[in-house]
Structure formats: C-alpha cells, structure tokens
Amino acid sequence: MLSRRRFASAVALGALAPGWVRAQGERTVTDSVGRRVQLPARVERVYAAGPPASIVLFAMAPDKVLGWTSPFRPDERPFVPARYADLPTLGRLTGRGNTANVEVVLAAKPDLIFDYGSTSPTFASLADRVQEQTGIPYLLIDGAFDRIPDAFRLLGGIIGSEAQGVQWARYCADMLGDVRTRVARVPEAKRPRVYYGRGPSGLQTGLSGSINMECIERVGALNVAAELGQGGLVQVSVEQVLRWAPEVIVTTDPNFFASVRRDPAWQSLPAVRERRVHLAPGLPFGWIDSPPSVNRLIGLHWLGRILHPQVFTEPLRPIVRDFYTRAYHQTPSEAQLDALLATDRT
C-alpha cells in the first residue's frame, strides 16, 4: 500500500537523518559572545551580514564571499578585481537597519552567516533570532580594534581558511604592535591635539572611546572632544571647536575639507592657518573610520605620517600598495596610488 510505503520510508529517513548529518562531520564552535553554533564540516559559502564583516571575509577568503551588503560605487569599483566586485548585492542583516530580504539570503544558500562588530546583547540576540528563523548557523565575532588578529584567527579556523587566517592575524598583530611601539616613543607633550570632523559641515565628532575614534586614538593623537566624556558621535558647534583650538583636523568629508579653508569662522584655528587639515582617503573603504573593519589598519600609518613624522619615517606608498594587494587582492596602479595619496594635499 502506497501510504504504508510512504510511512515506512519516512520512518527510515527519520532514523537515518542524525547519522547522515553526523557523517557530514558536523562540529560545534563558540563565537565571541559564547554562543555555541553547530557548523557543517566544510564552509564554502559565507554571507557577511554587514559591511565590516564583508571586508574581513573578503580580505581573508575572497572566494567564500557570497555577495556584498551594498553595491560598489563607480569610484570604489576599480580597486577590487572585477570578478569580486561583480558579486551580487544581498543587503545587510545587522541591527542597524536591515536591507536584506531573508529569502534572498536563503536563496544564496550560505553555509554560514557571519557578523563582525559589536557584541552587545542586542547583536547577540539578533544573531539567535536570525539563526532560528533561517536555520543557518550565525556567528558573531568581536570587532574591537585591538582584537582584529583574534578575529582573523577565529574566523579562519571556522571557515577552513586556517593558513590565511593565521597569516592575516600575524600581519595585523605585527602592524598593531609596530604602531604601538612607535607611538610609545613619542613623548606625551609632543602628541598633537586632533579634532575629527565628520559630516558635510564637519561638526560631528566622536567622543572618547567612540568606535569612530579608534584609529585616531590608537595612533597617539589627543582627541580634543575627549573632554566631553565617553560616548559615540555627537554634534558640536564651531565655537566649541574654536575653544579647543586643535593643532590638526582630520576629516572624511571632501566637502568639509574643501570648505574649511574658505569659511572665515574656521580661519583662526591653528590647524587651518598652518594647513594641517587632512582628508582621509576613502576608496574603496575608509582609511580611518567607516566601515569599522580591517580597512582602518592602513589609516594607522597614514595618520602616523601626519601626526608623528619623526617616528613614521618610511614613505607611505609601498605600505599602501602592500596592504591593498593583501586586503583587496589587486595591486593598485601607480595612478590609483597617486589619487589615494593626493587626497591629502591642500
């Protein structure tokens, strides 16, 4: 009888299923927030849930990237090999406004969803929810600046890219350690007071400990906004900046960079008078701030050259070329390097 046969095969399948899954070599891993996640033995297709995660994954294992969270803009595209830049846009699936359609993510058949960044309970619970809803293992890895090497080692081990993970972990640890020792040689009194101006009018800045300030603080600059306390991004007034009288202004906004020199209100600042206003390069990803991922490592050297030329003596160009080749898998052309390094010229 048909129904009995169906019943029998269902029973047989049910009995076989756990063994079949075990035969795949399922394993349990623990992510940065202590969530224990079951993973298949081989992880080939990874969906990075946010821009920071995309960059970490792309740097280490570009062929496991399923897609991007947002499309490349025309000016960003030439820095990444076309076969990677052409990957589909899947949207982001993080707490900061989802643009991904869960069905589109599922249709891409990821073995793993991976997010990199904040490990607050919000993001941990979000990871649980997405995992429960999709049935796809979801890993959350701590995106703290000083733990970048750990993130590479952990992720590399999990997705089966141990060698690349270890290599990246070493590269990052060396760079962070090198910058730390150099900065330590700069006496406290010689560390410039820096204002970081974001947004079109340059009046958004990061308080002490803000994720936006990590790169600037690591390189031994004194964040003038730190006197306002701990926190994230805030809006301040021109008057406040004038009172701080920063020696150096760093910005990521080309419009602010262009206008700060013609705006009379900013003229009396030492940084503007002495032409110590610097625009951080941002292609294909920001050098000092956004997104908060490994792309910021190169900003350490860039800022080091600006703030402490006495200890960051080597030319920047070879370091940038090396970093871009490693992280974005394509050696930038001399013209591209010129363009990147010229953004700073006032």
Partner: protein, 338 residues
C-alpha cells in the same frame, strides 16, 4: 483690543528680543570677556582694529554673531508664516509646514547628503524642493474644482508631505549607515550650530521680503480670516491674496528650514502666544508673532548651545520647551482664537 495693549505687547516682545540678544552674545562655549566683546564690537562699528586675540574676534563676528542673527531670522520667518497660515486657513492648528514645505526641504537636504554634495548645494536643494513641494500641492488643489478650496489645499499639502516623507525614509534606508545616516539624522533634528554669515545673508532677503509682503497684505488677510464671502463682499480678491500669502510664507519657511533643518513647534506655538497677547486681528498679530518667534528661537538656540557639553538639537529642544508651554496655554486661555 486696544491699541495701547498692542503697543505694550510689541514693546514687551522687542524688549525680550533685545535682552536675549545681549544674553546670547554674553554666553557660549568659548569664553569671551565683556571687555573683549565691547572692544570687538567697537572695532567693527568704527572700522578700526582692536588688540583682542583673533580667535575672540572670530567667535564674536563669525560664529556667535551669525548664529544669533540666523536664529532671529529663522524664528521670525517661521512664526510670521505660521501666523499668516493660521489666519488664512482660519484654523489654529495649522503650522507653516502644512503645505509640505518642510517635507520638501527635508527631502532636498537628504538628497544632497545622500549624493555627498557641498553644504551650499544641500541648502539650495532644501530650499528648491521646499518650494516645489508647495507648488505641487497648490497646483493639485487648483485642479480640484467643486470642493472647499482651503480644505482641498490643506489635504493636498498633507498628502504631498506624506509622500515626500516616504522619500526621506527611503533615502535614510539606502544611505551609508556609517557616514550619511548620522548626517541625515542630525539635519532632520534641526540645528544652527553650523550657521555662518553667508547662511544668514542668504536667507535674509527671502525672510524679510516674505514678512514685508505679509505686512502689506495685513488688512486683506484680516478680512480673509473672517471668511471668503465676507472678504469678497468688501472687494478682496480671495484667490489672488491667498496665492500671494502662500508664496510669501513658503519662501520664508523654505529659506529658514534650508539653513536650520526642520524645527517644529515655532510656527504653531508662537502665533498662539501672540494671539493670547493681542487677539486674532492679523494687523496686530503679525508684528507680535514675528518678534516673539525671533525671541523664542534665539532663546532656545542659546540654551541648545550652552546647556550641555554637546549641542542639543534645536528641533528636540523646541518640542521639549514647546509642549508644556502649549499645554499650559490650552488649559488657561479661553480667549477667542479666531
């Protein structure tokens, strides 16, 4: 309402504004001694030079001064436009953004931030889109015959505003969450923290011109506030006056919003305050509302830049201060609104 009472109200509002200007110049995050302030102003007036540090001069002349003037212009424009609309539409719940000017300006500014344009273009886009939004609402309403013209106009404005609001929401959704989204959020909260002399000079003609037009039309607006039939019976061309008032109020509001971002409450609350003082007649209402609006925004902006260690968004503060004031007004005032 007696003329004496009106003069007293105008005097009170003007005095409050003057006192606030002095206070606003005296306080701030950058310490400026009264003697230094006097020296800078004297040097500026006499055209001579002072031995005050250059930074102090910058603070007084390029930072605090423009910001104070911008607050005055923005407050005056929003409040006068609100008073005009409340009279024109014979409705006390109307604010200057009822026809979609703020939503249009917001969409324009957000577009500018989204495409990473220069601040100047962001402001120009805000201004242009604000005007375009109202023009669209007006055009739609003029095509709908056979309804109450005011009702249709307000409905068209609300509908256009909702559509543009959806546009803003969409752009926020698509914006880069690390750079553009914070900038958009700050713009939508309203702030004068970046106001420069150029900003002030750019909005002054539109705001002053708009107030002048309203002042010239004050009798007709008063009559129009009584009803279309009454106005027509004394020879007021209702359609033309309405179009002129809407144009003037929209220009003023769009100019104000383009430099300050969206600031709620002022255009709704301050005309009520003025009405409480001098009654509903627009000829008396306009000067009092204009002065009170200027004083209110200047006062709130002074709090915004001095109360906390960081800037408090103007839009937040006007609502926080405006809401209890408005409720108090509702509870205590039984004076006629119309």
């Amino acid at each position: 309402m007696s003329t004496g009472r009106t003069s007293a109200a105008i005097g009170f509002a003007a005095l409050a504004l003057c006192a606030l200007v002095i206070l606003a110049f005296a306080v701030g995050r950058f310490p400026v001694a009264p003697s230094e302030f006097g020296a800078v102003v004297w040097a500026w007036v006499s055209g001579g030079s002072s031995d005050v540090p250059a930074t102090v001069q910058t603070v007084v002349l390029n930072v605090r001064g423009p910001r104070i003037l911008a607050a005055i212009v923005v407050g005056a424009a929003l409040s006068a436009a609100g008073a005009a609309y409340q009279s024109l539409f014979r409705n006390p719940l109307v604010s200057p953004d009822i026809l979609g000017v703020s939503s249009g300006a917001a969409l324009g500014a957000v577009l500018g931030i989204f495409f990473s344009l220069d601040v100047l273009f962001i402001q120009a886009l805000a201004f242009g889109c604000g005007l375009a939004a109202v023009a669209t609402a007006y055009f739609i309403a003029s095509r709908m015959r056979g309804h109450d013209p005011i009702l249709v106009l307000v409905l068209a404005g609300v509908v256009i505003g909702a559509l543009l609001g959806a546009g803003v929401a969409l752009l926020k959704y698509l914006a880069d969450p690390y750079n553009q989204l914070p900038a958009i959020t700050y713009w939508l909260l309203g702030s004068l923290s970046a106001a420069t002399r150029a900003d002030f000079l750019a909005v002054l003609p539109a705001a002053a011109g708009g107030i002048l037009v309203l002042w010239l039309l004050r009798w007709r607006i008063s009559v129009l506030a009584l009803g279309d039939d009454e106005a027509a019976s004394v020879g007021v061309e209702t359609g033309r006056v309405r179009a002129l008032v809407i144009t003037a109020a929209t220009l003023m509001t769009a100019a104000a919003v383009s430099i300050s971002g969206v600031i709620g409450w002022v255009g709704l609350l301050i005309p009520h305050f003025a009405r409480l003082l001098v009654g509903p007649d627009f000829t008396r209402l306009l000067p009092v509302a204009t002065l009170l609006g200027a004083a209110f925004v200047l006062g709130v902006d002074t709090v915004a830049r001095t109360a906390g260690r960081i800037e408090i968004p103007l839009g937040v503060l006007t609502a926080v201060i405006g809401t209890p004031l408005f409720l108090w007004l509702l509870a205590t005032a039984r004076r006629s609104w119309q």
